[in-house]
C-alpha cells in the first residue's frame, strides 16, 4: 500500500471521482493552481471547463454550486478556510440544506463543500475556528471530519458520490500527515465510526485532529495499565450512535475530545446522546475536552491555552477512571 499525505488523499479522491463521472466538477478560489496541493494538477487532467477558479465571492459561488447541483451536475466546491462559510451561510443553510425537503423531495443536492479548519499555529481567530458545530443543527446537511489520509480519501469519495450536501472539514494541522492508503477504489461509508484502538477501561470519542492526540495519550496510559478505547466517529451527520454506545457499554466511561468550543459544540451534542441513551452503562460522568469558549487567539502561548490538547485529554481520562 502506498503512503500518501492527507493533502494527496484529497487530490486523489477528487481526481478519481472526476474521472468516474463527467458531471463532477471542481470550483473554488485558486483551485487551478492548487497552491497547497489539494487540487494541484487537476487542471491538466480535466481542463478549464471542470476546474474553475471562482472570484472571491463565497455567497455567490456557493450558491452557484447549489444551482449547478439542481441542474443535475455534481459540484465539488472549495471554500479555503472554514470560517469563510460564514460568508455563504444562507446558500448552505437556507438553500442547499432545505430545498430538497421544502420541495417535497423534488430537489437533489449532490454537492461536496470542502474547507480547512482548526488551529494550525498563529492563524488567529478568523482562520483557526472549528465550525462544524454551527452546521450540526441544520438538518439536510452531512458533516464529515476525516482524521487521517486513508479516511480522507475514502470519506471524500463517498461524500462526492452522496446525493446530499456534504461538508468535508479538513484539519489544517493534518495536511502533511502520512499513512498507508489503499490504491484504487477505496470507499469509507458515511455514518460508520472507526474503532482506532480497542480498550476496556474508558472510551475516548475523538474528532478530527483530536484522534492522533487521543491515540498518543492512549499509548502513554497503556503503560500504566489504563486501557483506552479510541473511537473516531468520522462523520457527525450521519452519526454512528451504535458504535459509541456499544463502546460505553463495554468501558462504562467516556471522554469526548473535540477542538470545537464547549457550549453548543459537537462534544456537547455527543455527550447529550450518551447521557440520553447510555445512562445505564455509565459509572462516571461524561467528560468533554474542548477548546475554551474564546475566539482562537494569535499569540502562541494563548493559542496553546485555548486549544484542547493531549494534557487535557489525559487529565479527563484520569478523572473518569479515578487514577
Amino acid at each position: 500500500m502506498p503512503q500518501i499525505s492527507f493533502i494527496q488523499a484529497i487530490n486523489q479522491a477528487i481526481a478519481e471521482e472526476m474521472e468516474r463521472d463527467p458531471l463532477t466538477f471542481l470550483m473554488g478560489e485558486d483551485v487551478v493552481l492548487g497552491a497547497f496541493g489539494a487540487t494541484k494538477g487537476l487542471i491538466d487532467k480535466f481542463g478549464a471547463k471542470r476546474v474553475r477558479n471562482t472570484p472571491i465571492s463565497e455567497a455567490g459561488f456557493v450558491g452557484a454550486a447549489v444551482g449547478a447541483a439542481m441542474a443535475g451536475t455534481r459540484p465539488i466546491c472549495e471554500v479555503e478556510f472554514a470560517s469563510f462559510f460564514y460568508c455563504a451561510f444562507d446558500q448552505i443553510c437556507n438553500q442547499a440544506a432545505k430545498l430538497r425537503y421544502m420541495s417535497g423531495g423534488q430537489a437533489t443536492m449532490p454537492i461536496t463543500f470542502r474547507a480547512v479548519f482548526g488551529a494550525m499555529g498563529g492563524a488567529a481567530a478568523q482562520h483557526s475556528e472549528t465550525v462544524y458545530a454551527q452546521f450540526l443543527s441544520v438538518p439536510g446537511l452531512k458533516l464529515v471530519i476525516p482524521s487521517g489520509p486513508s479516511d480522507m480519501k475514502g470519506l471524500l469519495k463517498s461524500a462526492i458520490r452522496d446525493n446530499n450536501p456534504v461538508i468535508v472539514f479538513e484539519h489544517g494541522a493534518l495536511g502533511w500527515s502520512r499513512e498507508d492508503v489503499p490504491a484504487g477504489e477505496h470507499l469509507v461509508p458515511l455514518g460508520k465510526a472507526a474503532v482506532k484502538r480497542p480498550g476496556d477501561n474508558v472510551t475516548v470519542v475523538a474528532i478530527g485532529a483530536m484522534v492522533p492526540k487521543a491515540m498518543s495519550v492512549a499509548e502513554k496510559l497503556e503503560k500504566e495499565k489504563i486501557s483506552v478505547e479510541v473511537i473516531d466517529p468520522r462523520t457527525l451527520i450521519p452519526l454512528d450512535e451504535d458504535a459509541i454506545l456499544a463502546s460505553v457499554e463495554k468501558t462504562n466511561r467516556i471522554v469526548i475530545a473535540d477542538e470545537g468550543h464547549l457550549r453548543g459544540g459537537a462534544a456537547a451534542d455527543l455527550a447529550a446522546i450518551v447521557a440520553d441513551k447510555g445512562f445505564d452503562f455509565l459509572d462516571a460522568p461524561v467528560r468533554r475536552v474542548t477548546s475554551l469558549d474564546v475566539p482562537i487567539p494569535f499569540s502562541p502561548p494563548l493559542e496553546k491555552a485555548a486549544i484542547a490538547d493531549e494534557a487535557r485529554i489525559e487529565a479527563a481520562i484520569r478523572a473518569v477512571v479515578g487514577r
Partner: protein
C-alpha cells in the same frame, strides 16, 4: 493643489516607514521569528500614504489582511505593531490579533481584517455613525481588487450611495487575488467603473504616485465631509512580494506571474518616483530625505528591540476581553 513642505516630508516618512517595517516583518517571518500569516504591501506604499495624508486624526479607516501600510499611514506606532506581530502582550491587541488584525481605535484605525471584503460594510457603518452622532468625520475603506467581487463591496456602495454617507472606498488594485490574475475572475478591467452602477463618482488613480493619490483623496474626502456622499477610488499598483510571506515554500516552481512583470513594476517604485520628483522640483533636498531614512531605520530598530524584549502574554490572559463586563 499646492502641497506644503511639511506634508511632503510626512508622506515620504510614511512611505519609508512602511517599506522598512514590512521588509523587516518579511525577514522575521521567513526566519520564523514571528508566527502566522504575514502579508506585505511592498511596492504599494503610495496608496496607503496618499490616502491617509488626506485624513485627519478623527477620521477612520478599515483595512484588510495586507494592512500594515494602512495602519502606519494612519499613525500606527511601529513598536506596538511589531510587538503585536510577535504575539507580545505589549502589542496593539495584547497578542490576540497578530499581523492580520491590528487595531488602534484611538487613531481611528478600526482594524485590519482576515476576511476579504469585511471592512467595506464596517466603514460604511462607521460613516453612518458619524452622521448619526452629528460629526463630520470621514471613513475610508481599504480593500483589494479581489474584494471588489464580494457581495459586501456591492452592498456597501449601494447603501453608502442611497444614504449619502461620508465614506471613501479605496480599492488597491494590484492585479491579483492570491494567485489568481484579476482578469480571469473579474468582469471589468477597471474597478472604478463599478461606481457607475451605484451612481457615485469613480476614479482611476496612479497608485504609485503618492501626490496623485493625495489629490484624488483630498477631493473625495472634501465631498464626503460636505455631505455629498461616497466616492470610489481605484489605485492601480502592484505587490512586489508574494501574496503571503513564505509562499515559495509551497508553490515550489509553480508560478503565477512573470518575473519580468515584477521587474517592470519595481522600476515604478513609488519611493524612487517621489525622490526623483523632489530632485526635479527642488522642493526637498536629498539630505532631508536621507535624514528621514536614517530616523526611520532607528525607529524600526527600536521597535524590533521593543517587540523582542517584551513579554509574551500569560496563558491566563486567554479568557480576557471576550466580553465587556462593565
Amino acid at each position: 493643489m499646492d502641497i506644503s513642505k511639511d506634508k511632503l516630508l510626512e508622506m515620504y516618512r510614511t512611505m519609508q516607514k512602511i517599506r522598512l517595517f514590512e521588509s523587516k516583518a518579511r525577514d522575521l517571518a521567513m526566519a520564523a521569528e514571528i508566527p502566522g500569516f504575514v502579508h506585505v504591501s511592498i511596492g504599494e506604499e503610495a496608496s496607503a500614504t496618499g490616502v491617509c495624508a488626506a485624513l485627519r486624526k478623527t477620521d477612520r479607516i478599515t483595512s484588510n489582511h495586507r494592512g500594515h501600510g494602512h495602519l502606519i499611514a494612519k499613525g500606527g506606532r511601529l513598536d506596538r505593531m511589531m510587538a503585536e506581530i510577535f504575539g507580545k502582550r505589549t502589542g496593539y491587541c495584547k497578542g490576540k490579533g497578530g499581523s492580520m488584525h491590528i487595531v488602534d481605535y484611538s487613531l481611528g484605525i478600526l482594524g485590519a481584517n482576515g476576511i476579504v471584503g469585511a471592512g467595506l460594510p464596517i466603514a460604511t457603518g462607521s460613516a453612518l455613525g458619524a452622521v448619526i452622532a452629528g460629526k463630520d468625520d470621514v471613513t475610508v475603506a481599504f480593500f483589494g481588487d479581489g474584494a471588489s467581487n464580494e457581495g459586501t463591496f456591492h452592498e456597501s456602495l449601494n447603501l453608502a450611495a442611497v444614504w449619502k454617507l461620508p465614506v471613501v472606498f479605496v480599492c488597491e488594485n494590484n492585479g491579483f487575488g492570491e494567485f489568481t490574475p484579476m482578469a480571469t475572475v473579474t468582469s471589468v478591467k477597471d474597478i472604478a467603473v463599478r461606481a457607475k452602477a451605484y451612481d457615485i463618482p469613480g476614479h482611476i488613480v496612479d497608485g504609485n504616485d503618492v501626490l496623485e493619490v493625495f489629490r484624488f483623496t483630498s477631493e473625495a474626502v472634501a465631498r464626503a465631509r460636505a455631505g455629498e456622499g461616497p466616492t470610489l477610488l481605484e489605485c492601480k499598483t502592484y505587490r512586489w512580494e508574494g501574496h503571503v510571506v513564505g509562499e515559495q515554500a509551497f508553490l515550489g516552481d509553480g508560478s503565477y506571474r512573470e518575473k519580468s512583470e515584477v521587474e517592470e513594476w519595481k522600476r515604478k517604485c513609488p519611493l524612487i518616483r517621489f525622490e526623483k520628483w523632489c530632485a526635479e522640483s527642488g522642493k526637498i533636498s536629498s539630505a532631508e530625505l536621507k535624514k528621514i531614512i536614517a530616523d526611520t531605520e532607528k525607529e524600526l530598530a527600536d521597535a524590533v528591540e521593543f517587540a523582542r524584549s517584551s513579554e509574551l502574554p500569560a496563558p491566563s490572559e486567554v479568557t480576557d476581553d471576550v466580553y465587556n463586563n462593565t
